[in-house]
Amino acid sequence: MSVQPEPIIRLEGVTKRFGSKVAVSDVTIDVPRGRCLGWLGPNGSGKTTLIRCMLGLARPSSGTIEVRGHRIPGEADVALRRVGGIVEEPRFYPYLSGRGNLEVWAGFLRGDARSRIDPALARVGLAANADRKVKAYSMGMRQRLGVARTLLSDPELLILDEPSNGLDPSGMASFREMIRSFVEEDGRTVFISSHLLDEVEKIADDIAIVHEGKLVLHGSVAELVADGRQGIRLRVDDGDRAEGVVGGLPFVTGVERRGAGELAVAVERPDDAASIALTRALVEAGVGVAELTRERETLEERFLQITGGATADEVRP
């Protein structure tokens, strides 16, 4: 019988209240080692609050948090010893250089943190700018310096809160590669929160969706994508008649009108047989079929469906 390795993060019934407002509500989740978990949710959904609790920056109102097998906040000193984090945005001493800042943080860390400064700067592509003052850094450079700081403790676990904020498209691509290399080459675990679904889908092995403080969906990216609603989109010359014909077919589970001549048809299995049967039924009923396309619900559509259409543009309460 195989023994499951202990999860690197274990949350059980974690709730965080601010007065009467519940920011995080009864979240229970295990995060396995050596994987990248995308923590998704619209702004104000409690993502950052939970991260702050996990990192000992805030105390949960109830529930238990274990990181690397140690309770937070009670054993935070041991638990955080090999954890790196960025919360909201990386902050530094602007009057010190990038290297100077890392030297300051290395002074607070145990072990060989100082010897990791140069490799960390090289890893995030800041070696050439290491001696410039941080106040002259762009937002993207600060984000990368923030990641370099997380590497000083040789972390088993990286907890990154919206780390790709401020990065341009090419910066995001290289950032994505870097995060994957932490998981695949170094064997680290990455817990990354974001509202950028597309980005997370490309980076993460697993995804958890949080909405209004509650964990509403959790699974591997492959599972979640496969579980998405599937269907066939039709463009026809007579939408009303087509709706009637298609709605009567036994393998059709739903029909949605998207315009005068457009229909989204939900079917049990959107395979060739379903497409042929649909076309045949419509043609036999005298409906002209201009286009037939198979559709699979994207993760973004599932996210929007779950969160009631909440987007990243929502203003935090």
Partner: protein, 246 residues
């Protein structure tokens, strides 16, 4: 950790480097003025070094040093929270109390680093520059001035650090700390008028006793009173730092 914290304080151009420079320039001005008045009217101002220099240097370092120390202490207390770096210090896994203790030691170190060069220069001038026999000073007198010049700034730096940690915002931390010092004297007069014994236990009076002032308060009690005042503000700041969420 202490060295790292000290670096974050001493690398600030405005509060630390500027402050240290102001004190140094003040001492140079004292030296310059005494040299000029001696040259202009040597009969009336026969000594450049000795007692006049000791009084001038001691006064300059004491007064300006206290203000500079308050800036250093208040910013050391408030900066990390105001700048957002505090959460990353907590993330290192180092206990909050240890972070606060390191900050305390670093503030003491930073104040000494800011004041000692100017004080040392001034004290060298006391002995090197010419003075009459009547103006010669003893080692004890020099030590008294050095003690006074350092004690006041250190005490107010630690109190300002507590206030800064409590208020978590740079501007208010500096303003309240300065107010505490400058409003202290008139408040003390009021308290002394009401009750002399309580007045003796106020911070300024206790510090005065510890630096050679003549009050009825035993020196040990004055020492305890000063420690109690510093501890009060230090502990208030520490309690907030330990309790806060970042």
């Amino acid at each position: 950790m202490i060295r790292a914290t000290l670096r974050t304080i001493t690398a600030r151009r405005g509060s630390f480097r500027g402050g240290a420079l102001v004190v140094l320039v003040a001492v140079l001005l004292v030296i310059g003025v005494l040299v000029v008045v001696h040259e202009l009217r040597p009969g009336r101002n026969p000594s450049v070094g000795g007692q006049p220099m000791l009084d001038g240097v001691g006064g300059a370092v004491w007064a300006l040093g206290t203000v500079v120390a308050i800036l250093i202490g208040a910013l050391a207390g408030s900066y990390d929270v105001a700048q957002g770096t505090m959460r990353y210090l907590v993330l290192t896994g180092v206990g909050r109390l240890r972070i606060y203790l390191a900050r305390t030691v670093a503030v003491v170190g930073a104040v000494l680093l800011a004041l000692v060069p100017a004080l040392a220069l001034g004290l060298i001038a006391v002995f090197v520059l010419p003075s009459t026999d009547a103006d010669k000073v003893t080692a004890g007198e020099v030590l008294d001035v050095a003690w006074t010049s350092v004690l006041f700034p250190l005490v107010f730096a630690l109190i300002a650090m507590g206030i800064g940690t409590l208020l978590r915002s740079n501007g208010p931390a500096i303003a309240v700390s300065l107010l505490f010092v400058f409003a202290g004297a008139p408040l003390l007069a009021l308290i002394e008028a009401a009750n002399e014994t309580i007045g003796d236990l106020m911070l300024l009076q206790a510090l005065d006793r510890l630096t050679g002032g003549e009050t009825s308060l035993p020196i040990a009690v004055a020492g305890l009173a000063a420690v109690a005042w510093v501890t009060l503000f230090w502990a208030l700041g520490g309690a907030r730092l330990a309790r806060d969420e970042y």
